[in-house]
């Protein structure tokens, strides 16, 4: 929780002024019994009506000042608390945004969302309460005691005894019952567990006819919970009666002592009334304080949970000391020049292994291949064979456990994440669109994209036709999650979104699954045409190596197509067949049909009927 307090730093002034005005208000509140005592002693005793009127005006004045102070305090407290929460949310959002897939997988998005919303709100309330009340209550308690001293030292001694006694009772009961509340929580957790268990296992329970047993089981735990609750209830029910006895006992003692002191002529009747009033004020404040402490505890718990999110560090981090984009095209040229192929290797995997956080075994083992610029690479394999894992390594969504991934000859770890992801266009399996117009969604890849460029991308993605029929065309409002579009439409839009970016490397991660074969085929042809712009081949041949290759490379797009359909990848320049995280075969469709057993099986199963 402590670390979160830095978010109050911009509100130092408010954090100080808030409680200060609150104390000011409390001070005026403490004067009220004295004024009333004056009314009784001076006004009533000497029948001085103008005096009474003056004193009453003084009371009203005190009330007005109190009101002003209090409103000022509330304003500062609210401003500081809200500012705190705003800063906290900003930092939290930005922190979560920096987390890599690995941490997101472990923590879970729903937890993160709760932290950002309800937990932050709880902390905001806590801060607000603390600023408003935390100083006030003790101040009034001790202030009342000091005021009592100014009236009469001996009578004030009763306060000296009462306040510690009250504190012992109030906080004693709290300290006894808070651990007991944990017991209640445990009993409640058991009840919750059984409820959950019976929902998740409803089939098994019914299959075994265990309903009655389960009900009995639940009753026992429920009964236990009730017993614990009643027990704790009994203890905390002591709070009110005990404090009542102490305060009123103190009042009895005050009246008696007061009587003795008045009899001796040391204090007046009105002052006895004032003493009694101070005593009543103390009770109210102590109860407030106890409630406050419970609320603060809750807020601290939430604060600690938030702090733990801040403690998560992104596992994928940019290298220190490397200026992003510091390496120019010439270097790329040299690296590629050293390779035997004339064209530079756009993507190069060398002996890559990957173990996901929390998993024991490698999900990818010894993946080793390279793809040259402009090449179309198909990746095929069964579910769980590691197809997505391979392509996720290219934009560095995860970091390799062993080996390395290079883009244009440089390790992906040497790029800044921004630069790296600028180069890669990813079309994820799950077609996600965001709330906003189609145009806004398309500009995710390139904020400056013109309508013309967007239409071009939509053309390639086979999406123009349906976008044109939508009301408003590019201005058509997409609902959250793209709910108002069909699965196939969403998929084509996500493809277009990646194309708008004009990436050097396009990754289609099983992203045509919702498309029919004909559309899928058209899409592939269009992407192929885009990857090999007319004339690029010729220009490259003319310019030769070095800068020329790089210029051509800028226009050429390397495409990765992940699919379970052999038809989607069979025309790729190179096909990688994955099996259980390993490369089972690599080559062109023709080569693989001859050499790779796994590929043959896949192909046969999907084509035997259709082509023979």
């Amino acid at each position: 929780m402590k670390k979160l307090l830095v978010f109050l730093k911009d509100y130092k002034k408010e954090s100080v002024l808030g409680p200060l005005f609150k104390l000011l208000e409390a001070s005026f509140e403490l004067i009220v019994p004295l004024v009333m005592a004056a009314i009784i002693d001076t006004g009533v005793a000497s029948e001085d009506r103008p005096y009474i009127m003056r004193m009453c005006l003084a009371l009203v004045l005190l009330a007005v000042i109190g009101l002003i102070c209090s409103i000022t305090a509330q304003y500062f407290a609210a401003k500081a608390a809200v500012g705190f929460a705003t800063g906290l949310r900003h930092a939290l959002f930005s922190h979560i945004g920096s987390l890599s897939f690995s941490e997101m997988d472990t923590v879970g998005t729903s937890t993160l969302i709760t932290r950002m919303t309800s937990d932050v709100n709880q902390v905001q309330n806590g801060v607000n309460l603390v600023l408003r009340l935390f100083l006030r209550s003790p101040f009034i308690v001790f202030g009342a005691m000091i005021m009592a001293f100014t009236i009469d030292v001996k009578a004030a001694l009763i306060f000296v005894v009462t306040i510690p006694l009250l504190s012992v009772v109030v906080f004693g009961i709290m300290f006894v019952s808070i651990p007991l509340y944990k017991k209640v929580q445990n009993a409640l957790d058991t009840v919750l567990g059984i409820t959950r268990e019976n929902l998740t296992g409803s089939r098994v329970i019914r299959a075994f006819n265990k309903e009655e047993d389960e009900i009995r089981h639940f009753r026992e735990s429920n009964e236990l919970l009730t017993r614990v609750q009643l027990y704790v209830g009994k203890i905390s029910a002591l709070m009110n009666p005990l404090t009542y006895v102490i305060i009123n006992g103190a009042i009895v003692a005050l009246v008696w002592t007061g009587a003795v002191r008045v009899d001796n002529g040391l204090i007046t009747q009105g002052e006895v009334v004032a003493l009694v009033n101070y005593m009543s004020q103390i009770l109210v404040e102590l109860v407030k304080l106890a409630n406050l402490i419970i609320n603060i505890n809750k807020s601290i718990a939430c604060g600690n949970r938030i702090e733990r999110i801040f403690e998560l560090e992104p596992s994928v981090r940019e290298m220190d000391g490397r200026s992003p984009g510091g390496i120019s095209g010439t270097e790329t040229g040299t690296v590629s020049g050293s390779r035997e192929t004339a064209r530079p290797a756009a993507v190069e995997f060398s002996h890559v292994g990957l173990i996901y956080a929390g998993a024991g075994e490698e999900s990818l083992t010894d993946i080793d291949f390279s793809a040259v610029c402009g090449e179309t690479v198909g990746i095929i394999g069964g579910t769980g064979s590691g197809k997505s894992s391979v392509v996720n390594l290219i934009p560095r969504f995860y970091d390799v456990t062993s080996g390395s991934v290079k883009i244009d000859g440089r390790d992906v770890k040497e790029y800044s994440l921004k630069e790296l992801r600028q180069k890669t266009g990813v079309v994820p399996q799950k077609a996600v669109l965001f709330k906003g117009t189609i145009r806004e969604n398309m500009r995710w890849g390139n904020p400056d994209a013109s309508d013309e460029e967007i239409w071009e991308a939509l053309d390639t993605a086979q999406a123009r036709e349906f976008v044109e029929t939508k009301q408003g065309g590019l201005d058509y409002q997409v609902e959250q999650g793209g709910k108002n579009l069909s699965g196939g439409q969403r998929q084509r839009l996500t493809i277009a979104r990646a194309l708008v970016k004009k990436p050097r490397i396009l990754i289609l991660d099983d992203s045509a699954s919702a498309l029919d074969f004909a559309t899928d085929a058209k899409l592939r042809t269009a992407i192929r045409a885009m990857a090999h712009p007319a004339g690029a081949e010729g220009r490259m041949a003319a310019d030769g190596a070095g800068a020329g290759a790089d210029a051509a490379g800028a226009q050429r797009m390397t495409v990765f197509i992940v699919s379970q359909r052999a038809s989607s990848i069979q025309h790729a320049d190179r096909i990688i067949v994955l099996d259980d995280g390993r490369i089972a075969g690599m080559g062109t469709h023709g080569e693989l049909l001859e050499s790779c057993e796994v590929y043959q099986e896949i192909y046969d199963s999907q084509f035997k009927k259709g082509e023979q």
Binding site: Y244, V262, V426
Partner: protein
């Protein structure tokens, strides 16, 4: 109450009162003691006032009188404290017993709900109704008892006591008090819009957070973090503005009402002092009035908070009551037969079924399984293989058609006896928290240790159970804790092995099981299936080949039916599936 409680809440309130009625005795005591406590609490300032009246000045103190009053006060204080304590205890008793009853009923309903309900609702939602909503309701109920009721009694009690002292001052107080309510209402009206703006913006922000954090992969893939942050900050900034307004203006209520209270206090002071001078009241009575002026306004300030809390509690109660009132499974027919040991014959005739009514799944499905036959259910993932299990176990009822077991229509058999004739091992292994033995003996609670061990040996689970820290008494948690997926599956098999019913429903695991365990599971399955009618959701080629009947499912429909040879010859979907999925395995 009319304005505070809407029609729907009223209905809920009536139902809640029905639960409370069972504890009418406690309720009676509580109400009586509340009245007593309030009356005595209010009487105390009068006594204090009288004592003060006996302290007139130096040498003019009536110690005997004061002593008598203080003695009375002491007795009253102790008595009040005792009454308060008993009242609190009664309130606790009512509250906790009522929520216990509600939870119990809710749980019992869960056991009797049609699986359709359970499948259609997220577990979290149902759990939150039974746990969180009931808790919230308890808080509200307790608060209602302790604050709402006593608050109202206090207000009226104070008025009565004040009237006994001075009519004039009471009238003055009564005239000013509505100002406090008016001010509170005024501020509440003004802040309502700000709260609405705040919660709208908060909703917008939550939606945005869900969208961005939920799809962080896409955000990062497009390096959209900066834009997202900017957009977030824009919403965040608006939220800051609206929150500040909402919180600030609503927090004015408290100082404002306290200001009105101060005015009441000052009024009592001035009117009281004038009356005292005129001889209408004594100084002691004035001090009593002053303390009343403080007490009187307090419940007013609290009551608006209490009402919100109560409305919230009623809303929560409504949610859990909704669950309790949900329709239970159609009960067994009154003349339903108890199916003894089934012979293993299962027939489906013209069966139609769909989950939603719109999307038809199983249409005019016919199947006849002779005793001892093996039926393999095959299809790509997500094709609805569990639908058939749902129908066979009668987790769901077919829309049309007849399913016969041992020649008797399923609807004429009690669910209990039908289900006990099936042994079921699902791929999603479900173990309950408890010992290994508890889990194994689920279907046969009176099984002896020898029988348990024999079953475990038969299912090849004995060797790993023996190696667990406490053997058969090892306690496992809900999700099986440290057990591997394969071990969990072995336990589920042992569970069935122990009772060995005449018909089996098995779900082969697809993955995450090591080869050695896998072989054991295969062996255990084979042993169980021997001579029993079995339905197997099959992934393994060998299982499928050996099946007497193969049902091929796709998108929830049963599209082909026959044995391996027939289906391959047919060259349909099965042939395609067989070649694509199973040849590799």
């Amino acid at each position: 109450m009319k304005k505070i409680v809407s029609g729907q809440q009223k209905a809920t309130l009536v139902k809640v009162l029905r639960y409370i009625r069972r504890y009418w005795l406690y309720l009676g005591i509580s109400v009586f003691l509340a009245a007593v406590t309030v009356a005595l609490t209010l009487y105390l300032p009068i006594l204090t006032g009288r004592a003060v009246d006996l302290i007139l000045g130096a040498g003019r103190v009536d110690f005997d009188g004061i002593f008598r009053i203080l003695r009375d006060m002491s007795v009253i204080i102790l008595f009040t404290a005792a009454a308060q304590w008993i009242m609190n205890a009664c309130n606790n008793k009512i509250t906790y017993n009522v929520i216990r009853d509600i939870r119990r009923e809710a749980f019992e309903k869960i056991e009797r709900l049609p699986l359709k309900y359970i499948d259609a609702h997220s577990y979290g939602e149902v759990v939150s109704r039974v746990i969180a909503d009931v808790d919230q309701f308890a808080d509200g109920l307790l608060m209602g008892f302790t604050q709402f009721f006593t608050g109202i009694v206090t207000i009226f009690g104070t008025l009565v006591f004040m009237l006994t002292i001075s009519v004039r001052i009471t009238v003055a107080v009564v005239v000013i008090t509505p100002v406090s309510l008016f001010v509170a209402a005024f501020i509440a009206r003004r802040t309502f819009d700000m709260f609405r703006l705040q919660s709208e913006t908060r909703g917008e922000q939550t939606a945005f957070i869900e969208e961005m954090i939920g799809n962080q992969k896409v955000v990062q893939a497009f390096s959209h973090e900066k834009e997202a942050q900017e957009q977030f900050d824009e919403i965040n900034g608006r939220l800051q503005k609206y929150s500040l307004r909402a919180i600030f203006f609503s927090s004015i209520t408290n100082p404002a009402t306290r200001f009105v209270n101060s005015l009441v206090y000052a009024t009592v002071g001035v009117v009281g002092a004038f009356t005292a001078i005129a001889g209408g009241i004594t100084v002691g009575q004035l001090s009593s009035l002053l303390s009343y002026a403080n007490q009187y306004t307090k419940p007013f300030n609290e009551i608006s908070g209490v009402i919100t809390e109560l409305q919230n509690a009623l809303a929560c109660a409504g949610r859990v009551l909704e669950l309790i009132e949900e329709d239970a499974e159609v009960p067994d027919a009154p003349d339903a037969k108890v199916l003894g040991e089934a012979d293993g014959k299962v027939e489906l005739e013209h069966v139609f079924f769909s989950y939603t009514g719109e999307q038809k799944l199983i249409e005019d499905f016919n199947l006849s399984v002779r005793p001892g036959q093996r039926v393999a259910i095959v299809g790509p993932t997500g094709c609805g293989k569990t639908t058939l299990i749902n129908l066979l176990m009668r987790f769901y009822d077919a829309d049309r058609g007849i399913i016969r077991v041992s020649g008797i229509p399923m609807r004429d058999i009690t669910r209990k006896s039908l289900r006990s004739n099936y042994g079921m091992v699902l791929q999603e292994t479900w173990l309950r928290s408890g010992t290994i033995r508890d889990n194994i003996t689920m279907g046969k609670p009176d099984a002896t240790d020898e029988q348990v061990i024999a079953a475990a040996k038969a299912s090849h689970a004995h060797s790993f159970i023996r190696r667990l820290p406490e053997g058969y008494d090892t306690v496992i948690t809900e999700d099986g804790g440290s057990l591997s997926q394969g071990q969990k599956q072995l336990l589920c098999i042992t569970r069935v092995m122990l009772c060995l019913p005449p018909m089996l429903i098995l779900d082969e695991a697809t993955s995450s099981i090591d080869t050695r365990t896998e072989i054991r599971i295969q062996k255990a399955f084979a042993k169980m299936m021997d001579g029993r009618t079995s339905f197997i959701v099959a992934h393994r080629l060998s299982t499928i080949r050996e099946a007497d009947i193969i049902l091929v499912m796709k998108d929830g429909h049963i599209i082909e039916q026959g044995n391996h040879g027939e289906l391959l010859a047919k060259g349909g979907f099965y042939a395609e599936l067989y070649n694509s999925q199973f040849v590799q395995a």
